[in-house]
Amino acid sequence: MTRSLTVQVCLALTTAFLLMAIYGPISVTVAGAFLPMKGGIIQGFDPSLTAFTKLTADAGLIRSLVVTLAVGAVATMISVVLATALALFTTERGGLHARVVALIVFLPFVMPPMVTGLSLLIFFRDVGIDRSLLTVTIGHVAIILAIAYRGIVVRLTDLGRSLIEASLDLGASRWQTFARVILPNISGSLVASAVLCFALSFDETLITLLLTGTESTFPIKLWGMTRLGITPAANAILAILLAATLAGSALAIWIRQRRSN
């Protein structure tokens, strides 16, 4: 059923208004990366890339980026492996096990990051582990595990038992069944979960802020930079991140739509 024109116009206006509120401040900041600015007003049209070239010389910033990529890669790998084991366990046993494991796995994700972060902070202090990139990585695993688990469980449940039973009946060992039947069937969801986990880990701020030692990850570095006030360097970073983010989500949605067609 088609909508009346008035309703359609109102919906479009709300959407336009919201997009303006989201992208307005971002575009002003992005403009500040290229143009001299004061108080959000362009001070003459004199575009330059100095803000960007300065960034490449900032060793601390580059290091934080490397650290973040490393933490993200390790945390994602651990989460996906662990989530696969947990998903195999719960889809097989079902019942109470499935409910208890799901409850525990989703707890850190559902609680505000601050509660999860403080829990880990207190725990690490109790057992005498100093704050470092290790504690940050563990913290990231604790929250992104839920995402990986959910994706993999859904796929395993869809897969059903008949294929696995057939494989075992035909004399394949358990390991062969896992490697040749289960793994190829869930590989799509493993990749999707890994991408999502990595994206979450890359931008994780609140938990990292509580668990990090002397090393800064990228968001923590940004948080430090932005506290100093509005600087062209920070604006340049926003410009780069925005471009990467738009490209990333355009790609993700394109893949999703292609699949559903």
Binding site: M1, I22, I26, G32, I122, R174, I253
Partner: protein, 285 residues
Amino acid sequence: MTVLSGLARPTASLAVYAVLSVLIVVPFLSFLAMSFFSVDGVTIVRTPTMVNFHRAFTDPVMMTVFGRTVLLCVGIALVTTLIAYPVAVFINGLQGGARYVLLTLVTAPLILSYVMKIYAFRSILGGNGLLNRMLLATGLIDTPSNFFVFNLNAVFLVLVVLLAPFAILPILLSLEKIPASLSEAAADLSAGRWTTFRTVTLPLSRPGIATAVSFTFIMAMGDFVTPQMVGGPNGFTFGRIIYSQFGLAFNWPFGAALGVLMAAVIVVVLALAMRLGRIPGGAGR
């Protein structure tokens, strides 16, 4: 049958619960335990006491900030969802290229650096900021307004805008699931557009609405970075107070007790969301 039972059944269970305990259960229990300890100078006294909870409930400042923060977050959750719903309906009605572009524009801010989004917002707030200048230029106000200058109103504004994409997606997902045949049937049975929306679309999108409201509430409640960056010296929220107990104030037990209160509120909100998120007359799920 099965793949895992290469290990004996109890061994597998043991391994699973051992990992989950160390990673998740024990940390949360330590957090709970900490709320019953007390602090003496810089050492934590591990004798159970109710002193933290007593202080939390009797300290007028704590209770005021707590009440104010809950109200603020309820407001943020409701307003965000009210804005997100029409946007989701609009996107759901689109086809092809327009839908693709809008979906991209709405999801991109989800993964854009959180700190950077707040930073961008902060740069247009402020007495002499772009927002104030725009309002002056459009004639909406005559003198620069302090309404959005580094206070709780600024926190409200920034969080509504930043959380809106998180509310749009679950609503859109629940709208996508409603078969077109249902509204066609309603139209055939001579229901008007408004009646169809009220009796078919709205009830069937309830799970999405419940997810949107509860998720935005939880995100707003647990945030301490946004209030820190745009809240100014007076925009104190509960999250900021908890955070300060683990920093300058150095009272971990008291901070943990306040954290337990926050977690309790969130559990209540989640329980409510699960109840309200059921489709009326639907099959339970």
